[in-house]
């Protein structure tokens, strides 16, 4: 079955998404670490910027 891509009509808010990492508690520790590790590598120029491909 084709699962339609969610095109949210609300802006989730970038800050609100980061808050959800903290609100996720211990379950979110690994994801948070990975997110900031990738950002760190990006700042050092080791990893290239990644962007979501356009969906529409």
């Amino acid at each position: 079955m084709l699962i339609p891509r969610a095109i949210a009509y609300l802006d989730p808010g970038s800050g609100s998404m980061i808050v959800q990492l903290v609100a996720g508690g211990t379950a979110a520790v690994a994801v948070t670490a990975k997110l900031y590790w990738r950002r760190f590598l990006r700042v050092l120029g080791i990893r290239k910027d990644e962007h979501e491909p356009p969906t529409s």
Partner: protein, 473 residues
Amino acid sequence: MPRVAPADALQAEPASFRDPRSRVFEADGQILRALTEEGLADWNALSAPTLARDLTAAGKLIPTERVADGDPLLRRLPAGYAALLRHERVPFVSYPYEWSFGMLRDAALLQLDLVEAALGEGLILKDSSPYNVQWRGVSPVFVDVGSFEHLVQGEPWIGYRQFCMLYLYPLMLQAFRGVEFNAWLRGSLEGIPPGQFRPVLSVGDLFRPGVFTHVVLHARLDRRRAGRSAEVKAELRAAGWKSELIRANVRRLRKTVSRLEWRPRGPGWTRYPEDRPYTDAAAASKDAFVANVAGMRRWRSIWDLGCNDARFARIAAGHADHVLAVDSDPGVVEQVYRELAREGERRILPLVIDLADPSPGLGWRGVERKALDERGSPDLVLCLALLHHLVISANLPLPEVVAWLRSLGAPLLVEFADRDDPMVQRLLAAKRADTHADYRLEAFEEELRAGFRIERRERLDPGTRTLFFATPA
């Protein structure tokens, strides 16, 4: 697809336009929801497993059925829609700025319940708006089945920010600061933004459960990271975001919300015993008068204006499908709500409405949220121990108040407390001696006769108050 609408195309409900996949229409007294292809896929995902059925059976989701192929209604569907759903009608549409604290809290818990239930089926709710919650008596029910959609793996909870702005912050505002949320929500249909709520809190509040994450951090990041949603979403996905994190957040939020308490204080809380009749005999006569009038026939909808402790709304409810019980005091409505919920009463909806300043049309073009009298009409109106508050305290001209009551177009059961009534004396004492000179029984009766025929009249012991039952002339 041609964009020509059939001549008798369904007319969209003015409040329903934000979600491109699903729109509400009203036709022949039915509440319908048109779905696009994508919206239909979401509905199938909700209704194919037992989720929709279970939620409906639990009273959490409005009963909904798909309009069958071949139904003439489908021919009236505007272009661009693939299917039509039919919803059960709620007795009266109300808005969060008309709810008491406990009502908004119970609606918040319902919203969280639904998010958690949806996650179990690989779904999510695309928004978190209390405007999607309505009431059957004092039971909250979620009415927007179009909110459910497939959860895209790796995507966070899109409705989290809205949950904070329209549920969590208003509740915290009232629980922590004692400020009733009603005025703020009426002034801002989008709710309270994180950056606006943060400065409201005291230093002590910052140590309360949930405040640091949901308010302080949220406000700080909201400011710093504006306009970078797509980028952050991609980063989260790459870092391995999973739906477990949404579930964890929802569970913690439920705990935070359940702990929020508000105990009404102040003059409002103690107001209503003063407005009771002054002798047991008068109280019994008043009860009997209301019971007699209400018992004349079966009523579809009774409005109890200035309901106080809802004593008369309860008497009337025995003879009505639905009773709308409104009072301007959020503390009074909160107490009524708690009592009715405890009693399991399903016919009475209590709302916080100041009749001197009733809810106006709000939002886009002023029609997204409707004014009070555009949302329904009563077929019996109770107006007991209210007139003197409207005329003397709120300075509304007596003829205008009567004319407004007449505009409701229904029989009226009204109480007039004359100038020598102790309560009226107290209200008048706060004013200059020459104000409200026209506030007299004879003047009132004359105004009443201009628009109504007086069917019954009874003076209550010890003689300062008179009850009238009048029908529109």
